[in-house]
Point group: D2
């Protein structure tokens, strides 16, 4: 079996991380042809060159090509990975900045900034997905493009063969495995919620829940990573994702963010340095600096997911945390919401596994954000100032009229060129 | 048919309003005996005296007695109305004050103040209900004691024969009837949500929805009452309850409340004046001043509700907005949540009528607050700092760790004497 | 207020019963104009003549006209009552005959005969409804045409403003009121199931369940009416409808029916006699013989239903047993199934009231027949031998391949002229 | 890893089949100790001897012991397999005989005979499970004892760590793999329903549905095995289980069964012959004759299931068709029903995978039989003639009063010694 994969947004400085993973895990996912697609031809060449050198050094037989032509590239593809960023780090920089002026968190998935990103991204992703379907209706689409929850909901409610993926869960799996000193494969998570709004309610080692012991023995280390108080983790007996800080510590985070420069500006600086490195024709491995770029373990998660979807290991199903249609799994959410939970993944796609009753402390917030996501998607698909305003009013971190008005004005002003209706 | 009614908290200065309603609507609800029960014997006598004079003046044949002995009073009662206030206006004054110190709304139902009131009130109400059941398992309990949603949930999940009542819906019915120039009985509301968290999504005049015309013709008057912008009502096409201000205008309301004295202090002043009036043995009608005390139309709603429950008009069922168990009516909430919706009321109780799909802008907030209410009830029943903290963290108007910690400390400090576990 | 009503199938010999009810209950339902529509012009004149004489004798001011032109008749109508019979008593006679040849019950609603009637009737009723909607989108349609469950499902899933009505529930209400010696209005039923597949699980007198006492004191009389053993009623503590005989006593009923002539032939004989009477210009009241024609109390039920739908009494809602969309009321059935349960009826239509959990002994059969009804409707709408066969295979009284094949052949052979696709 | 397994009913003549599977698949399931428990000491010794010789011949290092003491045997067990038969083939013979007298199918799972078996078996199995739990709360119970659906429901609703297993699904997997010429592991089934009441609605080869092609190319062979008409399989496009014959061909099957002797008497004859063979100390493999005993591939299914539950292969989850709590998977059934569907099996148990909407032709029958199963379990747990009668009346193959009375009388008469309350 020899597969063809396409990475849309392949010119990202992040790509060598993915390539390194493809090289290391080539037995799991036997790639024959890999196409990096990106409109930014120059950067694409730098990244593509390094990608080829990494494959060569590790003796991977697959062919890597680069292209700016999406339609040609997806012909015959088995899977298409989406990791694009509409508007680039410049747009991200804005998403992280103007909400702070109103006292709201600026961030690329949560809150007003996340809405701006959703509005820019959903139409572009749906257009790409439509082209993929035309070229090859059997191809799988894996979305790693943020906000993953809303983008995946757009893809699935438009009938695409798609799964949404995030590296939060695999990060916890690796972290916990390290703390316990066991192989990561032996760990499964009782992960529940929406993308970037999740809690680990159980950590199964060979099927047995060890979360209480884990918190008891390693609570400090866990809480420190999350930048949340250990007392909270102890009291609740669950591990929230890092992104819960934007809710539980909202005002403190806003104060911090106002002090620091934006994450986007840091990433932009790192990216510039990385691209300089990539241009060096002797570099044939991912540089250390890339670790600061974010997205740890995404390549492992992506390989695992695509391998199970394409049945490269004899079609064995596997349990993976992904973004899928709710379809009754969380009975308090609409069937067409997208949730992030353990699913059984095989050639027929990702089917969510049953989830025990969600406690009201988490269910309330999940339901509230789901309402926002539905309105956000509606605004992304149909446009109009009123829809943007209503999505913001529906967000638990906004919720007030004045705030929603101010944020709506800024969002539209800063994203004018990306919004067809504005 | 001649009924026996008991009013617990009958010594309230508000009682003459209720008495006036009983007198006016005596054909609907033929009261033979009315017992006002209150531990505050002195005030009870003042109120009881006026109550008797109002009945006398209007020629009502019913006998009004007063008592400090609950168990004796509820013997043979057909219905028991709860309008008590644990801790009195002093406790309310605190509920409205300390949350403001943390930048949170201080109010007797919504937010941290409402939680304090729930914690004080639930155990007392359950004790009263238990005594009512012992004395007379057939008696109906009507709860008008705030927070009505949480208190009714406590009563219903403990198996009591209870219905929760609020005057918001009847207030809208009368308001809209006035604007339309029709008899209130011809108006039914498509009212949905939780107590003090509701939206009118339809206004049926003789069964036909006239809400769009109503907003179009009388939007200014409606918005003005709500202290919410007309543009919001126009854009959404629904009428939020006045209490949505605490969400949609939270920070502005906090600023206002900090400027003004507390509502409790105003009520206390009015009450003092009222009691002085009540002591006048020539007074035989409710004074004008009582209108400023709040609770308009409650007596009409209470008479209607009790009449239907006791079948005084031949058992005709009627549609009334009340607080009842959800039981699948809003599929996104637990079955044992208490919701405020139109119900069919007759001798078998209040059965919620089907509700069309709730839009995400409202459903998200309703679900979030329902999560809080479940944790609030848990804290009220089982006590403990952690439970109080979690209920606050679950509230959409709190939601942050620091804030929840500060509010928890203040809540406990200010309510020490009322909380058995503190 | 003065209403215009249309009765489609108004030439039925049954119509004088309905007219008598309209006359007696004219305060509840003030009819200004009543149009009897029927393609059978001659019979229509006989019936119409008697109808006018009944109104005249009782001093009813309304005008009764007759017409063969549906489109003209429904102009300006407030409500349209459907009581037609496609194929007449001749088709009914066949429905009651050929199933017996296969050992199956022959009956106009249950089993194979009922399927034949559904296939003939649904297209005709949908065509009529479409014309009503075109003429007057505000008009209510009340369906009394069997099989009421399937026909109403057809109407409601095609978006018509319709309610299905049957006289089983009102029959029980009158029966029980008689046994208890109280006014019927004081009795409400906890009636649950599908049309002609229902159980009374509670009988509320002024809101209080008296069913246990009723069975204990009057079980014999109740069981005798049902032709079911008293022991069954005693053991289950519920009252099945008469039509449950076709299930619980299926083989005995088949044997009986083989012995007797068909109900259709008896009705045909009665009808002939009735028409002869109607021709007598001195007859000005419904003849005694009409009582043997069936449909007792239908006129009362119809008046009550139409009065509530049209708000003739100030729009007071009332609880009535009707056929409505399930919409979550019975959680084990699809939302778009049609169920027969108590509903709140007012100008906005009929909204089902909450139903306590249905016991497995009834729920299993209800779910099975609902599956059949869905397939029966599909066969009626889309035709084809396979769909007829599958509907029969899905029926709990058929269920076997050979039987379903035989019945399918007979059904098609006997209904060729009524089935466009056959 | 070295496991301890216990087989309750280990003295069954069927056991060598299981032992043969354990020997062949020892890499998947590394058994260190296997205890065969049975009250029939003599037969147990014959079977145990052969079992040891099979292990020896195949070089399996595990130790096989026999015991009549359940409590001692289950100490330290990792898994307990239940394959017992209360009352033995004699009781089965009766179950297959007396229903025929009433014109009903006599069979050990479906219909009246299956109810008799459930009533005898449930109390015994619950007692065994309680002892297992006391000895070792971590041990898994795998139930292969019929009626598997009702017995598993009893175990799960009493909180036992149990999974129900049947060989119907694995039989189809092997059959279809053979027809397609592929390895069975590449085939997954979209199997849905209740134990012995299932349909294959999809057959996934490496994740892609090939059922239409399979029916088109191999329909004859499939239909022949089922003893159902090919035309039915073609028309429906699904493959019913063999047990659907008892519904779809009920009367024909009854006629056949009346002609033939009972299956129990044939099995008894085979068993006698087998035991004679087992006594031969030179026999060291399962005899050919055993294939006629039934239960093909059960050993493979059991090994696979236990291996996944005990995580013997690194805890990899796998998709297997088992009997599990519904828990919302089929929304038209109660949460506590037991269904037979694909589930993800790993150390945390079996979690049902999402199931696409079930067509009304199947859903109706499934719901009807689920109602019966609930009443059957109630009768098994609480006893009493009325409960037996109601379970029978609730069964779609009975459904009539006379029949239910007759069957109830016979069931009780024939099972007197096994029913504590009778």
């Amino acid at each position: 079996m020899s597969l063809k994969l396409v990475v849309v947004g392949g010119g990202s400085t992040y790509t060598p991380e993915l390539i390194d993973g493809f090289a290391r895990l080539r037995d799991t996912l036997p790639i024959g042809e890999l196409v990096l697609v990106d409109p930014a031809a120059e950067r694409l060449e730098l990244v593509g060159g390094l990608a080829r050198r990494i494959f060569a050094k590790q003796g991977h037989p697959g062919v890597i090509t680069t292209s700016t032509d999406l339609d040609a590239s997806v012909q015959g593809a088995d899977a298409v990975l989406l990791q694009l960023r509409v508007g680039g780090q410049a747009a991200r920089n804005q998403d992280e900045t103007w909400p702070l002026e109103c006292g709201c968190v600026g961030q690329e998935t949560t809150g007003a900034g996340g809405l701006a990103k959703a509005l820019r991204t959903v139409p572009v992703v749906l257009d790409i997905a439509e082209r993929v379907r035309r070229a090859n209706p059997d191809a799988w689409i894996v979305d790693f493009t943020n906000p993953v929850g809303i983008v995946t909901r757009a893809l699935l409610t438009h009938g695409h063969k798609a799964v949404g993926l995030c590296n939060v869960a695999i990060g916890f799996q690796r972290k916990f495995a390290g703390l316990l000193g066991v192989a990561p494969e032996r760990i499964q998570l009782d992960h529940v919620g929406l993308n970037h709004l999740t809690w680990e309610r159980g950590v199964r080692l060979d099927g047995k829940d060890v979360l209480p012991e884990l918190i008891s023995a390693h609570g400090e280390s866990i809480a420190e990573d999350l930048e949340l108080p250990l007392s909270l983790v102890r009291q609740l007996g669950v591990v929230p994702s890092y992104y819960l800080r934007y809710f539980y510590e909202h005002d403190n985070v806003v104060a911090e963010l106002k002090q620091q420069g934006s994450r986007a500006s840091k990433v932009a600086a790192i990216e510039k340095e990385l691209l300089a490195m990539y241009a060096d024709p002797t570099l044939d491995e991912k540089p250390e600096l890339l670790a600061q770029r974010g997205g740890a373990f995404y390549s492992e998660a992506a390989v695992q997911l695509v391998a199970s979807l394409l049945g490269t290991q004899g079609g064995e199903p596997s349990e993976q945390v992904v973004n899928v249609l709710n379809a009754g799994t969380l009975p308090f959410l609409p069937d067409d919401a997208v949730i992030e939970v353990p699913a059984l993944v095989d050639g027929s796609g990702a089917r969510p596994l049953p989830v025990p009753t969600v406690e009201p402390l988490y269910a309330g917030l999940i339901a509230h954000v789901t309402g926002y996501e539905q309105l956000a998607l509606d605004a992304a698909l149909r446009g109009g100032r009123d829809r943007v305003f209503q999505a913001l009013l529906a967000h638990p971190l906004v919720g007030q009229l004045d705030l929603a008005e101010q944020l709506t004005d800024r969002l539209i002003a800063h994203n004018h060129e990306h919004l067809a209706w504005a």
